[in-house]
Amino acid sequence: MRLPGRIGRWIDDRLGVSQVVQHTLLHPIPRPNIGRKGWMYVLGSATLIAFVVQIVTGVALATKYIPAPDHAHQSLLVINDSRLGALLRGMHFWSASAMVLLIFLHMARTFLTGSYKFPREMNWITGGFLLGLTLAMAATGQLLRWDQDGVWSVVVWAKFADRVPLVGEHIARFFLGGDTVGGPTLTRFFAFHVFVFPALMFVLIGVHLYLVAYHGISEPPSPGQRVDRGTYRARYAALLQRGVPYFPGGLWREAVVAAALVAAVVLLALVVGPVGPGPAPDPTDVAAVPKPDWFFLWYYTLVWLKPPPLETLVMVYFPLGVGVLLFLIPLFAPYGERSARRRPWAIAAVGATLLVWGVLTGYGVSSYWVPDFDSPPIAPAALGIPPGPAADGARIFHERGCQYCHAVRGQGGRYGPDLTRVTRRMSPEEVRHRIVAGIRDMPAYRALPVGDVEALLAFFHAAAERRP
């Protein structure tokens, strides 16, 4: 026998490679899974690939990131300027984005194909934990940027946690590592981001994958074929009897998707680059406008939306409730129809979730309720307003902060209504009253001198009359 062959045999015998290969790569999967429908089943592995990218890039970044409050921001700037540093930071961000996106898509697919049903309830539940951990990684990751947004997100989180009844204060103190943002704050988020959460994820991914192997990958559903505890396992075993090996029939798609994913991540990192770090952090800088990364923009909007009496409900119990509900889905409906064609409510639920998420995120992007602090004063001459009370009104409109929330002729904030034609909608009396008494989301300018109110009115009149 030739030498390479003998070495190969020895290694295989002592390491048991082919045994492992047998169980991981060559185990049979149902024939329909390698058909065109196989493309539905690549999302989980794609999520895993994104996680692998996170681990590799994250470990690389950890060699040069300083998790100390006085140096973290600087160390990121150094990484950005270093060889490959910007690329790795970019990959870490874009792959994180991909991972969040993919895990949700994977969940939607699992839900729509009814793959969470008997006997795979625990696949879904471990996946739920992984979803939570992925979001925790996304949130702590944004914070490690330790720029103005990062520092203020700690404050915001602590304030959020503080609202939880009974244990809130403890959670808030836990986030901060004490009373305020200070020396112990960043290191704990770093430790959780790089040790605790990933360790939990490794364990859960192990269990999740083991369960996929143990129960076998769920086969594409066909309408009318109901899941029943008594018959499902036998039917599935029969499918495997006529099955095909996972490699290469099922795996090639996942490999192609993995290559495309990593290529896309590298491309985005090269073309768009890394995110931040933003301006240097300063807990005393009140000019900060903290905004979460896109993953949590929907929540940012939700918090704005809520009617005041429902505050704690929306901020605390709503996310908690959604989480618990997600976990319980397979326990509510473990049997029955799997095909989405026979489960209109499942499609409706996914569609509604997508719609709500899209709308909330869209509003979060525009966030029109944020006062436009930087809006420059309106030049009366540009609107054809001669010097006089109306021109004074334009100045007062800016000075008194009306312009933070209101626009005239397209200049100013978008929170309140555009006031260009306000005098056509409301009588002068109504306008005066509205300025002095306020309404819902508008402060009452009780101390505004009568002259100023009249000047504003003159300005509104002038703005309404003149066409640009």
């Binding site: 190969g8 082919s18 047998q22 915001v156 808030a172 090269l270 009140v286 903290p290 309720w369 933070y404």
Partner: protein
């Protein structure tokens, strides 16, 4: 561009690694596939656990001993878990440093004009050496009269974003969700549920002092 060159380098390295790793793995796989027929693969399910049958006379006597050893194993595992877990959880989930409250000077009385609201910065109690800028906190200070001062938190009572004082508008305004507060801290508009938290202020020997306050415990619940 250095990054492009780096990417080319990575690509070359990747190709090299793929060649080193994948070729033998691929060979191994192909031969394994050849060796084992599909039928055998699909039929290859783990057999039922052996050992259930054939319990002899001696085995009966073994049962209490086995039970004891099983309990011993679990007890030992619990000891390991406890000895590791208690210090871990106790350290990591400790409530953090409680620093109490301290009076911090923020400036001479004369430095503040009556009727004006200004931001003052001061140090947290007992900051750690590496805290850097994070050791500092700010508050809004308003001089109401000769020796009357009011201090407000900079944290919006809605979600904790920084409120800024806008002199012209005579309002505290929050950039996150458009909350606004009057100069006395009461809610003027937007989502904040309660007035801005006030901090204790005093004047000592012509110096204005603010009492530090922890961030948790100020929010409505």
């Amino acid at each position: 561009m250095p990054t492009r060159r780096a990417v080319r380098l990575i690509e070359r390295l990747q190709g090299f690694l793929v060649a080193i790793l994948l070729v033998p793995v691929g060979r191994r796989l192909v031969s394994t596939v050849r060796q084992r027929r599909l039928a055998r693969i699909t039929g290859d399910r783990p057999a039922a656990a052996p050992g259930a049958a054939g319990a002899g006379d001696g085995e009966a006597a073994e049962v209490p001993r086995r039970r004891f050893l099983a309990q011993l194993t679990m007890g030992a595992a619990a000891v390991v878990a406890g000895l590791l877990g208690v210090p871990f959880a106790g350290f990591v989930f400790a409530p953090g440093r409680r620093l109490g409250r301290q009076w911090r000077p923020v400036g001479d009385v004369a430095a503040f004009a009556v009727g004006r609201t200004v931001k003052v910065n001061y140090l947290d109690p007992a900051p750690l050496p590496w805290a850097g800028f994070a050791a500092e906190t700010a508050a809004w200070l308003r001089r109401e009269g000769d020796s009357q001062f009011v201090a407000f938190t900079i944290y919006c009572t809605h979600t904790g974003c920084p409120v800024r004082w806008e002199d012209g508008a005579d309002l505290f305004m929050c950039p996150c969700h458009g909350g606004a507060f009057y100069r006395d801290g009461t809610v003027a508009a937007g989502p904040p549920p309660i007035p801005l938290t006030r901090y204790p202020v005093r004047v000592r020997d012509g110096v204005v002092e603010i009492e530090t306050a922890p961030i948790p415990g100020q929010s409505p619940s």
